[in-house]
């Protein structure tokens, strides 16, 4: 085994993993603040990227202006999703809400396909394609940049959940009825969590779009994000971070060493295996909350 190749796959895998976490954080955010499993994060990530493109190419705005504008638009998309689709479902069985988020996912995929078609479009963030040299290792600059942004977002959200608003959101996720009973506007809290998830989706969408181009395949990040979110524990921000790292490293290493043997596709196999094993062995993930049972 080639140690340098192993190390290089691991480091690049870790960076990619952090970018997975960036998508997964949208799932964690919503679960942590309203106990809703959000299966629409994949297409929200894609939609965010498309909106950045629409603003930058359609209006001709520079990319660094298009991104904040798109973030603003997506904020209201998140609010809209709560208002139109989820508000009526508050207090209903979680399976209905789950199916609703899946419906949103499908709707957004079909909608973006209708508007923008299936051809892949590039987003350029002006990051050089030349690799970064770290000793003997070649590091992908775009992944490195994405990983740094992901880390910054995690820091931000960890702090956010300690603020008063963050505590209120966690309270909502614990018990809707009790939250209502102390005057918390549950609807507004849920809307805020979707808005934040939509904002993160935009950032994730731009970063991933710059790496692989913007097309329907961006929505497939949902699968990675679900794995990362479940592995980390659905309500743990730090868990999503570590799970992303873990998945990225395992995937990267497995990819370099198994792909030649299996003829490709080993990454998705690893991904599926991790999701299934997590649910079988440790359903609440690495750091997820247990339901507290007093004896």
């Amino acid at each position: 085994m080639d140690a340098v190749l192993l190390l290089e796959s691991a480091v690049n895998g870790a960076l990619v993993g952090l970018m997975y976490s960036l998508v997964a954080i949208g799932i964690v955010l919503i679960y942590k603040s309203s106990s809703v499993p959000n299966l629409a994060q994949g297409s929200m990530t894609m939609l965010g990227a498309y909106i950045v493109l629409a603003i930058s190419t359609g209006v001709g705005a520079p990319i660094w202006l298009a991104i904040p504008l798109a973030i603003g638009v997506m904020f209201f998309v998140g609010i809209g999703i709560e208002r139109l689709a989820l508000r009526r479902l508050a207090g209903r069985p979680v399976i209905m809400i789950l199916m609703m988020t899946l419906g949103i996912e499908i709707f957004l995929r079909a909608g973006t396909m209708t508007i923008w078609g299936g051809t892949s479009r590039p987003i350029s963030l002006g990051i050089s394609d030349a690799p970064l040299f770290l000793g003997p290792l070649l590091i992908n600059r775009a992944y490195a940049f994405g990983a740094v942004v992901a880390l910054a977002m995690f820091g931000l959200f960890v702090l956010f959940f300690r603020t008063r608003t963050g505590v209120v959101l966690r309270a909502i996720s614990d018990d809707y009825t009790a939250a209502w009973s102390v005057g918390i506007s549950v609807e507004r809290g849920v809307a805020l969590s979707w808005a934040m998830a939509a904002v993160v989706a935009t950032i994730g969408g731009v970063l991933w779009g710059s790496v692989q181009g913007v097309d329907q395949s961006l929505a497939l990040l949902l699968l990675k994000a679900v794995t990362v979110a479940v592995l980390g524990g659905l309500d743990s921000i730090g868990g999503a971070l570590l799970a992303g790292l873990l998945l990225g490293i395992v995937e990267g290493v497995a990819g370099s060493f198994l792909d030649p043997l299996l003829g490709g596709a080993s990454r998705d196999l690893v991904d599926a295996a991790m999701l299934i094993l997590t649910i079988l062995i440790r359903p609440h993930g690495l750091f997820g909350r247990h339901d507290i049972e007093r004896i």
Binding site: T177, A179, V182, I292
Partner: protein
Amino acid sequence: MEQPSVAPILSLNNVEVIYDYVSLAIKGVSIEVPTGGMVALLGANGAGKSTTLKAISGLLTAERGEVRRGEVTFLGQSISGMMPQDRVKLGIAHVLEGRRVFEHLTPEENLVAASAVRSRHVMKRNMDRVYGYFKRLHERRGVASGYLSGGEQQMLAIGRALMTEPKLLMLDEPSLGLAPFLVAEIFQIISTISKDEGLSVLLVEQNAVAALDIVSHGYLIENGRIVMHDSTEALKRNPDIQEFYLGGAKGKDFRDIKHYSRRKRWLT
């Protein structure tokens, strides 16, 4: 029957609640809580006590219930159709049955969550007040609330409600599952708060003995109807109340089975 003499802070007038458009849970309930007074709503399981409280706090909607007829008036203003959070702002606090603390949050975070609309300064002051009444909460303020004892959780649920600066505190079976000495302690604290701060209290209980020790007035609800209301003294003297709610004052002769089948007088 004696009517409360002070102007009511809360009155229900012929309130009818229906769940899922079909099942009638309470049928024409009328209740008054005098300002600064303590009133108990007594009744057995499924009599409609919790439904009555939810009709007041607006939490019915979450359970697909609806006030179909009648009016809920708080501080002279009709509140039917108001969102729960707006009712909290008006000064109605509902301590839910089964405590329902935010289990994954610490007691301190529970109190923070309940003061979302207050300034930080007011929140701190209210928090000190709550810790003043419930010293044990202060000692346990950093533990996940799910790990508190039943009594501590009940204190937290009440403390959390107090953070919203209520004028009317509604308690749904605070004695549920607690040791008698804890029930006495918690009821004593509620009574103190009511006296100190002029807080009006509507107490829903199955434990009539404990409840009648602190309230001045009681309502009896059976099958969704108020069957009787009177001052505490009168209720305690009533032989039917003694028998069916206070466990018999004179010591029951258990060989006399006929005793059980006697109809309550108010049903005839």
